[in-house]
């Protein structure tokens, strides 16, 4: 498997599409962080979790780095995966590779690991660049809690991008044409980043319409339905998970927290407690990735290897 891993990793890091996307994120991420840092500058040292706010605060019309990664991150994951298998079929390399003594799942696993390593390298370097930029603008170093939360943010981001990578690989197995799998990947991306939010709102409005004078229970029902639907979206899961990690005072999701805001203390939670809040979201992300893998295996293991 390591042979597959190293070859694929070298291919990714040398590929034009990877370089293009890397610089795209770097530029936009850098710009949004710079504007956030501008907005935050003047804050004194000791202000709470200033480095984490670099990722979440938006300024000057640009979305925050977090929002940007949640929206465009999937595209990078998908781009690294959408032609993983079908291009091998189209090039005729699949017969040659699978005539070698390797298991078929090694091949998929090697490709996935190489993709996720490339993504991890990209995300890590961008986060480090942003922190460096913060250091330059703010003029004081991050403390331990900030570093550990940033590391956690990194891990969750990689898991999130890994889901999209595995989706891309799944489509590259299902569809014989690379163009089809690219379009299918983009369709899923648009569905989860745009349409599902509208759809969730629409369904919640139908089931529990909010009219003037309705009680808090209707409000709560409306919100919980919306949340329930959004929980199927990896984008929403990622946003919730990273919000809790990057905003230490964040205590919960949904209407309960909203209604009780006045009575809840706003002091920051320790990292362990924040993790506890987002544990279901994390498990959800990993589960979605596993589902993609399971389907990929089932289809690919029994597929006839004939290059056309």
């Amino acid at each position: 498997m390591s042979a597959v891993f190293w070859k694929e990793l070298a291919d990714h890091l040398g590929s034009k599409r990877f370089v293009i996307f890397f610089f795209l994120i770097l530029i936009v991420g850098g710009a949004s962080t710079y504007l956030a840092a501008q907005a935050l500058s003047g804050t004194q040292q000791g202000a709470e979790f200033i480095y984490l706010r670099l990722f979440t605060v938006s300024g000057g019309g640009l979305p925050s780095f977090l929002g940007f990664l949640a929206f465009f991150g999937p595209l990078i994951g998908v781009v690294l995966g959408f032609d993983a298998i079908n291009s091998e079929f189209n090039r005729g390399t699949v017969s040659r590779v699978l005539a070698q003594p390797i298991y078929r799942d090694w091949w998929i696993n090697g490709k996935f690991l190489a993709g996720i390593t490339a993504l991890a390298i990209a995300v890590a370097s961008i986060i480090l660049i942003i922190v460096g930029l913060g250091l330059y603008i703010l003029g004081f170093p991050p403390d331990g809690a900030e570093i550990s939360r940033t590391a956690m943010f990194f891990v969750i981001s990689v898991v999130y991008l890994g889901f999209w990578l595995s989706l891309g690989i799944l489509f590259s197995i299902v569809f014989r044409q690379t163009a089809t799998s690219a379009l299918a990947s983009i369709a899923v991306w648009l569905f989860f980043t745009l349409f599902l939010y509208m759809l969730a709102g629409l369904i919640a409005d139908q089931v529990a319409p909010i009219k003037p004078g309705v009680g808090a229970d209707v409000f709560a029902k409306h919100e919980s339905i919306r949340d329930l639907i959004l929980r199927f979206s990896p984008v929403a899961l990622y946003e919730e998970a990273t919000t809790a990690i990057l905003i230490p005072s964040y205590r919960g999701l949904g209407i309960a927290a909203l209604l009780q805001e006045a009575t809840i203390p706003t002091s920051p939670l320790p990292l362990g407690q924040s993790l506890l809040i987002v544990w279901p979201q994390l498990v959800g992300l990993v589960a979605l990735t596993s589902v993609c893998f399971a389907i990929s295996y089932v289809i690919f293991m029994r597929r006839e290897i004939r290059s056309t």
Partner: protein, 307 residues
Amino acid sequence: MPVVEAKGLKKYYDGVKAVDDLDLVIEEGEIYGLLGPNGAGKTTTILILLGLTEPTAGEVRVLGHDPAREPLQVKRVTGYLPENLGFYEDLSARENLLYTAYLNRIPEREARKRVAEVLELVGLAEVADRRVGTFSRGMKQRLGIADVLLKEPRFVILDEPTSGIDPEGAVQILDMIVRLRDERGMTILLSSHLLHQVQRICDRMGIIHQGKLVAQGTLGELGAVVEEGQRLFEVRASRVDEGLLEALRGIEGVVGVEHEGDLIRVRATAEVRPRIARAVIEAGADLLELKGHTYTLEEIYLRYFQG
């Protein structure tokens, strides 16, 4: 132990029979030619042997292993040159081969040595560091053979190794195949529809038609089957007339006489050459030529697909 042993092999695609009740035995150290028109089931049979597709029914053993259940054991000792061969075009010939070597878990140093050797063997040593994207079809095919040899297989499957190659390149490849058997003792399964090439190098061959193996054996055996116990003699005489033809028809064992100009074809169930010679002389003509006809693979093949 035979290298390949297949019994009652079947493969159906949505009810269409691609391979239908096929029995195949390939012995160690022979070159076996699998012949048949496009779509006869040659490639499907090969894919089953490699475990790249599962048979609907039937038993297969390749060097004692079941390719569907123990694909790795089979692939460790089997080299496969697919029909539509592809390489990573951005990588050089050497890098492509090194990747194959690593997939076979050949250690780095040994891999580099073997890659240099096989590139030398197929005559690509000088272009080893050029991108494969710049290679011609014939060069890619030779690189494919290098790729197959890298793991030092005992059994090699070549699917249409000479299709789309110019005659000179095809001859080179065929010579290489014969050398593999002679010098390295490899067993080779070759599929092709280029009959004269198969005839030249194969020890035994099987004709496959609509998924069934309709005949197999050496060229002589196949010819004998086509003859159905009859032999064909070609006679050339200086003068052909009705008297001579009548005399030939009168020979015991002769079942048919036909002629075309001065060439007479005599079909008989026994060796009748001496009596033909006498009949020609007795008819007052000179005997110019008398020989037994040997069937070419092409004639045998066409007999199967026309008759």
